[in-house]
Point group: C2
Chain length 542, copies 2
């Protein structure tokens, strides 16, 4: 029993991480970040388009999670299971809520979770096994048809797909687990596609099983506590167990139970788990499916799973990610996870403690346009950072730019200012090879038989050192005190309210002489004719 | 006498261009685009910082021109001459007002003005000669000290400078006139610096006079009708008379008078003209001065003018540009002029009628980051446009990007989306040489003796073809009808008002098969298991 006074015990309790999705939904609602929709909504034609609007028509801070309580499909079938969408990452604020931290603490918390992961614990049973469907029972109840899986991109997608399913599988050689989010096409009542191609982790497991002539066991987890969604979308190195890093985020071990029909562990408090076996002697086509690149992903030959069990909590909640055209929930998830992984890698694995921020732009699907802010102490450091970032993951980083500490790496205008006046293309850029196109249609025509090399097929990176190479004269804005004084006058005159943008005053950048200072002071005394007289004496005859 | 009915005569009269700055001030005021400041304002420490705030803290559409009616300097001297600033281009709307057209007509009007220039006419006299100061009379009245010239970047600038002065000079060989805006340091009561270096037009005149051992006559015009400011900041080709293109904009000839002391013609309705003679046997240092690059421009050896006359209208108005850190009035002026000159060049001089838009980003000082929208009909066209744009003016275009017609070239996120998924660095980029650093501190250290070549000094361009190279699958957003339906539901639910952003629905990009269509339709009928069964039959054994 705790010996803390009751108030502190309460504080202690508040600090604990969300034990399940329901706990988190209460937090979303309390923070005013949940829209409950009681009106009947068609999951196939209305649900995604409705939530999509907030990504095409609202500023980020106004975006919310949506809970649809009365869902119907195109055939008129009603569902008792509600659909929760955009609850992980409709905005950076919502992501912070899911992390139980402030927005500006997200990356540090994520970094510490990688450095200090917490292993999960096994428990004998959990709510995810409240309701169990297997064998004939599963088929009689419609199998996957029980779940209100929405169509993400109506008019183009060829089926409903799981978008938030965290796939758990194991390396048959080492037994090391992987948890990853892969789109999953509903192909039949007990058959699911799973989009995983080389060199993704589930594919590696698949290949190793294929070599051993055994099938791959797997489970797709839907609606775990949000810390699992955060890590499952990330590209952590092969061999890192996402359950451990999720534990690092919450600061406590994830509770796991054994699956009913496969040798896989899943979160005890998840809403829904689909268990099954992935044959490794055949592949099946899946897609087209609307992808994070902003285009439909084309048809691919991919693994598929024969479903052996579906297990539920009582009154389960189906959870989806709003993905596709960026910005979206999925680009925000991908963005923050990539920022955390790259920040940790550059600072801690590559010995670049002066890395200050990594910003993946959502306009690039949050993977292809990366800006790294660095307080450079040696001219070689930007290149170390550029090559390290380019090499970490060959799916990520078509354009990588290093900027100084006074540039806002998230503001495209600020970055374009740096590109315009802090770099020279012939001197400060380099192109490197070895990227994998994945879903990038610019690599080769969509129907090309060989999309992935040899060159000129395939993908490359543009690396740009947009840091200042030497001292610059000051930023051409009035000195701070004059801008401050003017702001008071602005307000006295009753002019419209200001939202000051950085930089809003001039500052030194290393190149400013005593004489420059003196002349500026003379000008401010109205004595600039003195400077004029000096310059006349220094006149240069031609 | 006109035989039109009176109502039509009135309409005819309304269509005429602003005859002077005062006429234009009335239009600004009527449009709610002028702030009159009656409060006493220090021109050296308060005026620029105050107006600067609207460029660091307000959205563009809220920015206005400012008229300061009670101006004082740091020594406490009061001025009867008011200061008008940001009246040409505080925003694109204000620029359109100055052009007497709608915002989306600006570029076409500017283009037509280049194609159909209107020569000015000489008139015997004009208001600009209401008051004339020459010789001893000029000196006794304080010369340039009569004018309330503000300090632009207090704390860093070494004097007050003219920022909006249109310098008029002539090629001594051909007699062809040039009008250009050059910053002009107040060096003494009758001495002005003029910042013009090779290969700028005034510098070319200076060199030719130097070769002939004669001085260069010139006049600095302040407060002409706004069409002169628009053309004087542009980089029209050498030999094009900006007065003619200004006439093309207004659709009527500019009225000119001869200067009092030099063989130069100036607008009869200008507010203020400073006449003088530029020695060509010596140069003088001028600057530091806050520049459009976002940094202080360093010291340069430049021509200077000995003032021979100052002429005024009665109750003259001093006009300044708000320049320096972008965005600013000067970056907007530079942006639109460059867009018009490049658009005309690419479409009409280079035979690329499928150029749809040229967008210079203000974050680059409106010269260095250029995005060109093109409806490509042959794969070679983007490169023709890229090389043509890179070659037109060697001060302009560090980064030049060609995008397709569905990209918004002004939206950096839209451009970054194109860079992320429509180009490969190793295939679609090229670096070209031959740029002139001018004020770009990235070319060489500020105190380097040779800033302009040989390589690796000097500046280069990065050219990028970010157009699709082949058909792509559709944009991954729900089809239009589903987004429209969802918008109605959104509104029915009383959710916050939307500002729809392009693209807000999926559309075809050339690669989408009959089978893709059929599968998408089946999914929308809830018949996706049929697709699943088909895919099972097409299974590929490994």
């Amino acid at each position: 029993m705790s010996c803390l006074p009751s108030r502190e015990r309460k504080a202690e309790k508040t600090m604990a991480y969300y034990k399940d999705m329901r706990d988190y939904i209460r937090a979303l609602e309390k923070a005013g970040k949940l829209v409950r929709v009681k009106k009947r909504i068609n999951k196939d034609t209305e649900l995604h388009p409705l939530v999509r609007w907030q990504f095409r028509g609202l500023p980020e801070e106004q975006r919310k999670a949506f809970l649809f309580e009365d869902v119907v499909d195109v055939k008129g079938k009603t569902y008792t299971i509600p659909v929760l969408i955009a609850c992980h990452a409709a905005s950076r604020q919502i992501y912070a809520l899911g992390m139980k931290c402030k927005e500006d603490e997200i990356i540090e918390k994520w970094t510490q979770a990688q450095l200090k992961p917490v292993k999960p614990v096994m428990v004998p049973t959990g709510p995810v096994h409240d309701v169990i469907f297997t064998g004939e029972h599963l088929v009689q109840h419609g199998g996957l048809g029980m779940l209100p899986v929405p169509i993400s991109t109506p008019g183009f997608d060829n089926a409903p797909y799981f978008t938030s399913a965290c796939w758990v599988s194991k390396d048959p050689e080492t037994g090391i687990r992987n948890v990853g989010v892969y789109r999953s096409m509903i192909k039949g009542p007990t058959r699911l596609g799973v989009s995983s191609s080389p060199p993704k982790d589930l594919w590696t497991h698949w290949e190793k099983c294929h070599d051993r002539k055994i099938p791959l066991q797997a489970a797709a987890v839907i609606g775990a506590p949000p810390n699992l969604g955060f890590t499952a979308v990330s590209h952590l190195p092969y061999g890192v167990d996402e359950y451990d890093v999720s534990g690092g985020i919450s600061g406590e071990p994830l509770k796991l139970v054994k699956c009913q029909t496969v040798d896989i562990e899943v979160p005890a408090n998840a809403e829904i788990v689909v268990e099954g076996v992935i044959p490794t002697d055949a592949l099946e086509r899946e897609a087209p499916f609307g992808e994070y690149t902003g285009y439909m992903g084309g048809e691919m030959m991919n693994p598929y799973m024969n479903v052996t069990a579906i297990t539920f909590r009582k009154n389960p909640i189906y959870v989806a990610f709003l993905s596709q055209f960026p910005p979206s929930e999925s680009s925000k998830l991908r963005q923050i996870a990539a920022e955390a992984v790259y920040y940790k890698h550059l600072r801690y694995d590559c010995g670049l403690p002066n890395i200050q921020e990594v910003a993946f732009h959502e306009s690039s699907g949050a993977w292809q346009y990366c800006v790294i802010k660095m307080k450079k102490t040696h001219p070689a450091q930007p290149w170390k950072a550029l090559y390290s970032a380019a090499n970490l993951d060959n799916h990520i980083g078509k354009i990588i730019i290093i900027v100084d500490e006074d540039i806002d790496p998230r503001d495209p205008d600020s970055v374009n200012w740096a590109l315009s006046f802090r770099m020279q293309p012939h001197r400060d850029t380099q192109i490197t090879y070895g990227k994998i196109p994945a879903l990038d249609h610019s690599a080769a025509p969509p129907d090309s038989p060989e999309r992935r090399y040899p060159l000129p097929r395939g993908c490359s990176s543009m690396l740009i050192d947009a840091t200042r190479k030497w001292g610059y004269p000051p930023v051409s804005l009035p000195r701070k005190e004059y801008m401050e004084r003017a702001k008071k006058i602005w307000e006295d005159l009753g002019l419209p309210p200001l939202k000051p943008q950085v930089p809003w005053h001039g500052y030194s950048l290393g190149h400013w002489t005593k004489e420059n200072e003196e002349e500026a002071e003379l000008a401010l005394k109205g004595e600039h004719y003195q400077t004029g007289e000096k310059l006349e004496k220094q006149r240069q005859k031609m």
